[in-house]
Symmetry: C2
Subunit: 315 residues, 2 copies
């Protein structure tokens, strides 16, 4: 099986001035995941590494750069899933760590549980030697400004949310294992303790070697109501291509619960799709050493890696 | 449409001395839900009322009588879902309230969110005027003893968990609306912040008027890995009866992730099933004024209500 990595940097409406930063961010994430696969890492490691790149990048609403809740605090959700055995790890409403996706992976590997929340997730992080990062160090000027604007009477946090994206990755490795990872700061000015789709298995992501893997983004509450990631995989089980299955899932979410979003999808043959019902979604994919990126409906940019260059990079 | 209510009091292995109490508890819960439907309440109200009966009953691992986490504290999860519009409300790791299912319903009705966790859920409960109940008042002697035994070196919490069941209900009302509700204290001696399947939409429950409703119980981490409630409904969408669909879901969970559990299921025609892959599951159902209960595989007790008696009761 040829290795493939697809990542997204969130569905919504991109602010033009940040577009280049987003595309650069998802490209670096996808190349990082692909490099891991080329170096023999499995799909699970590849999606974790790709997501870490975006958690560390202030452009994205995950890790550093996460949006603030109504109290001005950062509470993050993340999930990772291994398609080989359906093992999964997730955290919800976790505070004061740089990389929630790594903590989710540790929940999967070091506990008998699938999901740890809030204070319990922090206790576990400490027990694993993960350094505590003060919330102030995870806040960007942009997140804080957005939060302040949302506090004004008559503001529309959902509108101001636009362009602040959840991140995610799906991959298939040389042995045919698929995996998914998703990480987010949630919705700006959300209620304390609000948990969205990301940490909810089947909604924010799902991976099964027999079918494929999905990572979702968009209106979290709508994604949960239709259990979007699992829904897309059911359509693939029924014979649809990744593109057809994703469109069917997104169409159903729009008509049934008036919800908009996007997803990156890979099937067990390495065919992939990046689809969205929102205005935009930043994404990047690497297959056969070729990097493709996109932001707008129907538009794909393609760059080819230098085959002589061992270390993959952007040209 | 004839109203129908089905409830469960948890899958596992029932301690003989409590069997009568369990059967009485699920019977009262089912009759309470059925009475609500007969009095014109919708399916959503019926499942909430049925679950409250079991949360208040110390036999069950939900509300009063919940198991203790590793620190001797009680953290509860609950979900409720309305099949009409896929609206849902849930809470996870919530402390110090008597009826998590009612808080879940308020999350659905009073917020823009689907799931609130931990401290945020408590803050919301307070804002809704829900009285705070000290953890000590939710603890039964039996839960505390179990917890203490599990602290001993070499103990097996999962074995001692047997017979302490999550509770749940599904219903269909006169207008053909279906709903589900599930509530639990989780696993005895669980890590602080462990969240299981119950509050995870699609795993602990799912309801869709176009298909039916499901509430699950059993090995929570396994239920999450296969997104059991939604899986059972997919099988029903493919034409299976509630019984066939539930068995297919439970069989898959057993073979794919070595997990055991049970589910109560109703379809949009009011046909229902109560099935389990564990040794036992306490359940009760009321349809056509007839109460049926069960604990063991293949054994059903039937009692008929007195048609002259306005107030349904056990004979």
């Amino acid at each position: 099986m040829k290795p493939v990595v697809v990542v997204h940097g969130g569905a919504g409406s991109i602010v033009k001035e940040y577009e280049e930063g987003y595309i650069s961010g998802v490209s670096q994430a996808a190349l990082k995941g692909y490099e891991a696969l080329k170096n023999g890492s499995n799909a699970l490691k590849a999606v974790e590494e790709a997501v870490i790149v975006m958690e560390d990048d202030p452009h994205f609403n995950a890790g550093y750069g996460s949006v603030l809740n109504q109290e001005g605090d950062i509470e993050m959700d993340a999930i990772i899933m291994d398609g080989k055995n359906l093992m999964s790890g997730a955290v919800s409403a976790v505070r004061c760590i740089a990389n929630p996706i790594t903590l989710a992976r540790l929940v999967m590997e070091k506990t008998d549980h699938v999901l740890l929340t809030c204070k319990g997730a922090s206790q576990f992080a400490k027990s694993q030697g993960i350094p505590e990062v003060p919330t102030a160090k995870l806040i960007t000027e942009r997140s804080r400004e957005r939060w302040k604007k949302n506090l004004a009477p008559g503001s529309n946090p959902l509108k101001l949310q636009l362009g602040l994206g959840t991140v995610g990755a799906v991959a298939i490795d040389g042995e045919g294992n698929v995996a998914c990872a998703t990480s987010t700061g949630g919705i700006s000015n959300k209620m304390v303790g609000r948990v969205g789709d990301t940490s909810c298995i089947g909604s924010g992501g799902y991976a099964d070697n027999a079918i494929g893997a999905v990572s979702t983004t968009g209106d979290g509450e709508s994604i949960m109501k239709v259990v979007l990631a699992r829904l897309i995989l059911y359509h693939m089980e029924q014979g649809k291509t990744p593109e057809e299955a994703t469109d069917a899932g997104l169409d159903y979410m729009k008509t049934r619960v008036d919800g908009y979003g996007g997803a990156i999808v890979i099937n067990h043959r390495g065919e992939w799709a990046a689809r969205f019902s929102t205005k935009q979604m930043t994404w990047a994919a690497v297959k056969d050493g070729q990097l493709q990126t996109g932001v707008y409906q129907g538009k794909v940019e393609t760059e080819t890696e230098n085959p002589r260059d061992d270390h993959l990079h952007l040209h």
